[in-house]
């Protein structure tokens, strides 16, 4: 997100899901789409069937590779080098969209200069993808009338994650692929409302609507809307919080609906820090690993038990509707926030508001009223209302009540004016394999599970389909370790170790192993590296060095 905001002025998927069917070329990089976004994966396969060219860049032989025209099997953590090489070939061979660059981009010369050395020869050495494949893929991409780029965490969860996004933006801009159907730069959001929670300013450096925390006009606006002054200090990012706790700066933490002890890289570090808090409040639907160490646990509602909206990966704001009451004394999250607010802030406005109904026990202000307040503080949602999104959602920006929403961004320019072509110097991953830790570990999802499994592991069909953790390993590596399929091994990094079964497959290349991160009994984030991307503070969950030993039973 940081990446896209910097170069384009807006951080979101530029195009639509069903626009994939309009594309001539698809570049899927760092996204195992058929497993992580199955319906988007279906659209890609349908487009490929209709003649759209599919370029897959992934260290693993994911399902999309079977339908791909080009598969670039880069080494984990080398995406930046690969993308720069694609740009290099395109400029070298004069395939760029010169008119578009002239009209809509700036800093072109410096950019061109910066990738002069990023030759396919060099890239082959770094990424392991052969020169000819890089050249072919670059040509295919550049020659498409509408070429769309699709990526997920495989790109961003690296110490160089932001640079990777800059590099992809460069690729899209020089080929003129921003602002038209079937093209675009499309981060596929991994969770239902990542877009919405970012949009709403659950970020230390942004108010709702990406209005900067230190922008005086924005501060004045929110101070007026909320009838209270706002802070002059930059806040902490999630990944900085454990250290702040250890330093005694942070003493109280309220976590709503997340389980960072299982989902964060080097999770043991987070656990130890959280245990030092004076007061940890966890609001969730299950007693998660994080809730287990909390001082206060607030029972919350699932998506089916509340009203509101989610913004999907297309920036489309869609309704969520209450279908059943929360169980027992659980309450919907908005009512919980309202209750805490009423209790803590001395009922500043209008005295204590009790529960309004005997079945749902909702406490005002209700979702619809909050939504109305949101439309007043961010122009991109100003034209929305529950009435308008009753049948179909609306994609922001939707600045007024007649506006049809904006499925495709940047059709007539970028929020920051011209797109900034960044000089991207590629950095390798923070941790590379060595003699002691010879394997490269990459992590991800499987179709049947989701995140830390609090939901999926409690649904019979899903759990039965993918009940336990495993490590994917190349047959040659298995042979040298003398392990058979399904045998147990211990995987260890400098930070921790887990035991799990081996799955021998040529989906991964030699020296690379893959572990899904859904399983608490073999929580791979005990191994992963919490080294942060310097710009957006995303940890490098996607690559680290590990050793694997056979467990003798």
């Amino acid at each position: 997100m940081t990446g896209l905001v910097t170069v384009l002025g807006s951080g979101a998927m530029t195009n639509t899901i069903n626009g994939i069917l309009d594309s001539d070329v698809m570049l899927v990089i760092g996204s195992n789409t058929t497993e992580t976004h199955p319906i988007i994966g279906l659209r890609m396969l349908a487009a490929a069937k209709n003649g759209s060219k599919l370029i897959v860049a992934d260290p693993r032989r994911i399902k999309l590779c079977d339908s791909a025209d080009h598969w670039m099997q880069q080494r984990p953590g080398t995406d930046g080098a690969l993308i720069n090489a694609l740009c290099h070939v395109i400029l070298r061979d004069g395939l760029e969209d010169k008119e578009y660059i002239a009209e809509r981009a700036e800093n072109f010369d410096a950019f061109k200069e910066s990738i002069a050395d990023c030759t396919p020869e060099l890239a082959e050495k770094i990424t392991g993808v052969s020169e000819s494949v890089i050249e072919e893929a670059a040509h295919t991409f550049a020659k498409g009338k509408a070429a769309g780029i699709y990526y997920t965490m495989g790109i961003t969860q690296h110490t160089s994650g932001t640079d990777n996004v800059y590099a992809l933006a460069n690729l899209a801009v020089i080929t003129g692929n921003l602002g038209k159907a079937g093209a675009g730069l499309n981060p596929l959001r991994g969770q239902n409302n990542v877009q919405g929670s970012s949009d709403m300013g659950c970020l230390p450096h942004f108010f709702p609507g990406y209005q900067k925390w230190d922008d005086e006009a924005a501060k004045a606006k929110f101070a007026e809307l909320w009838e209270t002054p706002v802070s002059d200090k930059l806040g902490l990012m999630a990944t900085e919080m454990p250290d702040a706790i250890n330093e005694g700066k942070l003493a109280g933490l309220w976590i709503m609906g997340e389980n960072p002890i299982l989902s964060d890289p080097n999770s043991d570090h987070a656990r130890k820090a959280f245990e030092k808090l004076d007061c940890l409040v966890v609001q969730d639907i299950f007693l998660t690993e994080t809730a287990e160490i909390a001082d206060v646990v607030l029972p919350a509602a699932s998506f089916a038990e509340k009203d509101g909206t989610f913004a999907n990966t297309e920036r489309k704001v869609q309704r969520v509707r209450r279908a059943v009451p929360p169980p027992g004394d659980a309450r919907d999250d908005l009512s919980i926030i309202n209750m805490v607010s009423n209790r803590m802030l001395g009922n500043r406005k209008g005295g204590f508001q009790g529960a309004s109904d005997p079945i749902y026990h909702t406490v005002p202000p209700f979702a619809g009223e909050v939504f109305t307040e949101i439309t007043k503080c961010w122009v991109a949602m100003a034209g929305m209302s529950y009435e308008r999104i009753e049948e179909q959602g609306l994609a922001w920006p939707c600045p007024d009540t007649d506006h049809p929403g904006t499925p495709i961004l940047h059709e007539n320019g970028f929020p920051r004016g011209k797109a900034w072509l960044s000089a991207v110097t590629w950095n390798g991953p923070a941790e590379l394999p060595d003699e002691e830790y010879p394997f490269v570990l990459t992590t991800g999802r499987v179709l049947y599970q989701y995140h830390t499994g609090t939901m999926t592991r409690r649904s019979e069909v899903l759990e039965a389909s993918a009940p336990s953790a495993y490590v994917e390993m190349h047959p040659a590596d298995a042979e040298s370790l003398k392990v058979n399929d399904q045998e147990m091994v211990r995987a260890s990094s400098r930070r921790g170790s887990i035991d799990l079964a081996v799955r021998i497959t040529d989906r991964v290349s030699k020296g690379l192993v893959f572990v899904p991160f859904h399983y608490k009994e073999a929580s791979v984030n005990l191994l992963t590296n919490d080294a942060l991307d310097p710009k957006c503070k995303i940890p490098e969950a996607k690559v680290c060095a590990i050793q694997i030993t056979k467990i003798d039973v």
Binding site: M1, T16, N18, I39, I40, T156, R189, G190, Q191, N192, N193, V194, G196, S197, G201, C202, P204, P208, F222, A238, K249, G252, W254, I255, M256, G257, V281, I285, F286, V296, V297, L298, P299, S302, F303, A304, E305, T309, F310, N312, T313, Q318, R319, R321, A323, R331, L334, I337, M339, S341, M344, V370, G393, L447, Y448, M455, R458, V461, L462, A464
Partner: protein, 831 residues
């Protein structure tokens, strides 16, 4: 865009060029039935249901493959078209084999979704099981104890071993919810402003008040006794329904918000005219049948001679009665059995039931007869009392004269008349006589007011009420339960009152009644003899759980409950015995729907008689019953992954498959789209084990909570349970597609692990303990305020979630930014 103009059923329609007639009709809201249509993928073996008549064409045309052309004139429902469709449906139905509804469900007078609540029990969803029962029966605590169990007599499990103990399961879920103090949170409609008076606070009155309140009306119960419950409290002795159970039952109903007026006797304390004067829009009479039919032999006016209802009332009121050592009970109905068993509990040593016919002819439920006998009640059969005038001997207070009876010739209905055996007089010396010869609602005429006198009463002492509409002879006055039907079971009173409530609602709202259940039903066999034993291949004998009960020698010493109820383990084991006869595709089956719409009488045209294929449960998410397949092929053609194959060894002369194979390939991703597209119950989701029948089902459109695609889903909700997830083929962005998580990944909502109460840890290192909200909020506010005071706002932080809504995220950051005064706010998945 070029257009064509055509005429369908006399309407001129302008449509886009290149569409089929079916598509044009759909867009114009003209329904053409089809069983095999999948957009853009015509069937190889079409159902031929969508035929229409096109002017100028000799043959009927399939509208799904015929393009709409300019100037066409089309009839979609001409006689020829209808006849063709009916023939097609009859052909397809002929080999369709299965049960729409389970026999238990069909037999229950309350049409309760028996299979459904048993399925909930098997999954441990007791609360939802009770909610499902209470959709149709608001007095499950009592019915679960005293129901005659019509359902169990038709349970197919009888063909293997023994019927499922359905009623004990019902009692179990009710008791479980009581023990766990569950608030069922049953919703009611918006207030209508209508007020209904309910006379009588027994099962009928409570039921009527409950349904009327749920419909949004204001109901007021007028009860003559000082407590509510009627027959539940005063008719059944405590060993059958303990008073605390009645109290709980009544309170559960009252929690809906029902007004009550106790110790108000109709005809004495108020009249119908008074009620009308008070502004009630309608009146329901549910006073039961509490007037005993007199014991019409000489000398019954002696002391120690009682009638049954009065006697039981005295027992339940705890009156101290001197009943002596021996007693006779006259009559063979259910109440007589309770009287006899109560007498034993009151210390009477010898209790004899006197009945003029054979034991099997007693109107009492044979189960009740057996229970009475087990406790030591004696039976003097084929004997009729003739009087109490004789002088008793010194050991007894009364002498009951008797005539022995014999059976005469059968009458037209086959019932044999009873005839006294001449000069067969004998006598029985007893201390107490209680007669139980039936009950009436009113003895003679209703009095107390002008309207009362207009109320027609049947010769047997019941109110005249139209059995369909529950209307009495006075406008706006309805009657139900025993008051209208005569003394029957509690569940029958509930059914009668529910029906009356439906009519009262239609009357006061001036609207249509909720439709009755359609009787259309595919069946594996109507009677036990019609059911092929092949249905039960592979099902082993597994006898029913035995209800724990106190032994008779102990239980007759007091009025405590005899039957102790299933334990949770027993209930689950018993629920697992259910054969799940009814179809879980009940609400979505297109074949059934079209058979009903087009009046196809499958009882005449035929249906499958025995299973040809085994039911295949090898798929992890989907159960396949090829016996229900009509070979429409929608599953195969709707599959986005080409992972399903349906094939037949051959096709019979009517175009139906022989040697059918429905095969999932290894690369199936279990998305379940084939099930949503199945035209019958041949494909079913494994976790969809509760049939959704005629009761209310809500469909809620919402957004999937998993990845960021934002697929639009339809949640099918029953009670408070998510039954199934489907998708609308016309809704972006997923257009009917969902992944395995979308269709199968939501069971976590009702998982027992859900947090149901706030928890706090009072001291570091101590345990998390459940507390009330107010305490949790105090605890948290105190801790946060103290940090705020000592270290300032930046010592507090919030971590939000990408799972939570936009509104929640906004409110959360607003709390930290404006309430606390810090920018320490982030979410874990912003990358």
């Amino acid at each position: 865009m070029s257009t064509v103009t055509l005429n369908i059923n006399g309407n001129e329609i302008v449509a886009e060029e290149g569409l089929t007639i079916l598509e044009v009709a759909k867009r114009s809201d003209i329904a053409i039935p089809t069983l095999c249509y999948i957009k853009g993928k015509p069937a190889d073996n079409p159902c031929k249901m969508c035929v229409v008549e096109v002017e100028g064409q000799d043959d009927l045309m399939r509208s799904c493959v015929t393009l709409a052309r300019d100037g066409m004139s089309i009839q979609t429902d001409s006689e020829a078209v209808i006849t063709h469709r009916q023939e097609r449906l009859a052909t397809l139905s002929e080999t369709h084999f299965g049960d729409c509804k389970a026999p238990c469900n069909l037999t229950c007078p309350g049409q309760i979704n028996v299979q459904g609540y048993i399925a909930h029990v098997s999954r441990g969803e007791y609360e939802e099981a009770l909610r499902l029962v209470m959709e149709r029966n608001p007095v499950p605590f009592s019915v679960g104890r005293v129901c005659p169990r019509f359902c169990e007599t038709r349970c197919r499990r009888i063909l293997i071993d023994e019927p499922v103990s359905i009623n004990h399961l019902k009692r179990f879920v009710a008791d479980w919810c009581m023990t766990h103090d569950i608030d069922l949170k049953i919703s009611k409609d918006k207030p209508t402003g209508k007020r209904i008076a309910v006379i009588g606070g027994g099962p009928a009155g409570l039921t009527a008040a409950w349904y009327l309140t749920r419909k949004g009306h204001e109901a007021t119960i007028f009860e003559a006794a000082p407590k509510l419950g009627g027959a539940l409290r005063y008719g059944f002795p405590e060993y059958k329904i303990p008073n605390e159970i009645v109290d709980y039952e009544v309170n559960t109903i009252l929690r809906m918000g029902i007004n009550i007026r106790l110790s108000q006797k109709w005809g004495k304390d108020f009249s119908l005219q008074d009620l009308k004067g008070m502004g009630f829009d309608a009146i329901f009479i549910g006073i039961g049948a509490t007037v005993d039919v007199p014991f019409d032999v000489p000398c019954t006016d002696k002391a120690n001679v009682y009638t049954a209802t009065k006697f039981l009332r005295m027992i339940n009121d705890g009156k101290d009665l001197d009943l002596g050592r021996t007693a006779a009970v006259i009559g063979g109905n259910n109440i007589a059995m309770e009287v006899a068993r109560s007498l034993l509990r009151k210390g009477v040593e010898q209790v004899t039931i006197v009945y003029p016919r054979a034991r099997l002819e007693m109107p009492a439920n044979q189960r009740n007869v057996r229970e009475a006998e087990k406790e030591g009640v004696q039976f003097l059969l084929m004997a009729s009392p003739s009087g109490l005038c004789a002088v008793p001997d010194e050991h007894n207070r009364l002498k009951l004269d008797l005539i022995r009876m014999k059976l005469g010739e059968p009458d037209k209905r086959g019932k044999r008349e009873i005839l006294p055996i001449p000069e067969s007089t004998s006598s029985l010396g007893v201390d107490t006589v209680v007669s139980s010869l039936g009950q009436m609602s009113v003895d003679g005429m209703m009095t107390g007011g002008e309207l009362e006198e207009q109320l027609a009463i049947k010769p047997n002492g019941m109110f005249v009420a139209n059995p369909r509409s529950a209307e009495t002879s006075v406008e706006g006055v309805f009657a139900g339960g025993d008051a209208a039907t005569g003394s029957k079971s509690v569940i029958q009173a509930v059914v009668s009152a529910r029906r009356a409530a439906n009519n009262i609602n239609a009357y006061v709202m001036d609207c249509e009644k909720d439709p009755a259940d359609n009787r259309f039903n595919f069946t594996r066999g109507k009677g036990f003899d019609d059911v092929s034993l092949k249905n039960f291949d592979g099902i082993g004998i597994n006898l029913r759980e035995k209800m724990p009960e106190r032994p008779p020698e102990v239980s007759t010493q007091d009025f405590d409950e005899v039957k102790l109820g299933f334990t949770e383990k027993m209930a689950k084991r018993e629920a697992d015995r259910c054969l799940k006869c009814g179809c879980t595709a009940f609400e979505r089956c297109d074949l059934k729907r079209l058979d009903i719409d087009l009046n196809v009488n499958i009882n005449k045209t035929g249906m499958g008689k025995e299973p040809i294929y085994p039911i295949d449960t090898s798929h992890r998410a989907i159960t396949v019953d090829p016996n229900k397949c009509i070979y429409c092929g929608r599953c195969e053609r709707s599959c986005e992954y080409d992972a399903l194959e349906v094939r037949a060894e051959s096709i019979d002369e009517k175009g139906r498959p022989v040697g059918l194979v429905i095969d999932f390939k290894d690369h199936c991703v279990s998305c379940g789209k084939c099930v949503d597209n199945c035209s019958t119950g041949a494909l079913n989701k494994n976790n969809r084990i509760v049939p959704i029948q005629s009761e209310e089902i809500r469909e809620v459109r919402t957004t999937c909570p998993y990845c960021g695609t934002g697929c639009q889903m339809i949640l099918k909700i029953k009670g408070h349970t998510l039954m199934e997830v489907t998708a609308d083929p016309d809704m972006a962005p997923n257009y009917g597609d969902l992944c395995v998580k979308g269709r199968f990944g939501h069971n976590f909502i009702q998982h027992p692990d859900r947090l149901k109460t706030p928890l706090i840890r009072r001291h570091k290192g101590g345990p998390l303990e459940p507390v009330k909200w107010v305490d949790a909020l105090d605890f948290m506010a105190q801790a946060f305020s103290s940090i705020l005071g000592q270290k300032g706002p930046d010592a507090l932080a919030g971590l939000s979630s990408a799972r939570c809504t936009i509104e929640e995220n906004y409110a959360f950051q607003k709390f930290f930014r404006s309430g606390i005064g810090t920018n320490n706010i982030d979410h874990c998945a912003r990358y």
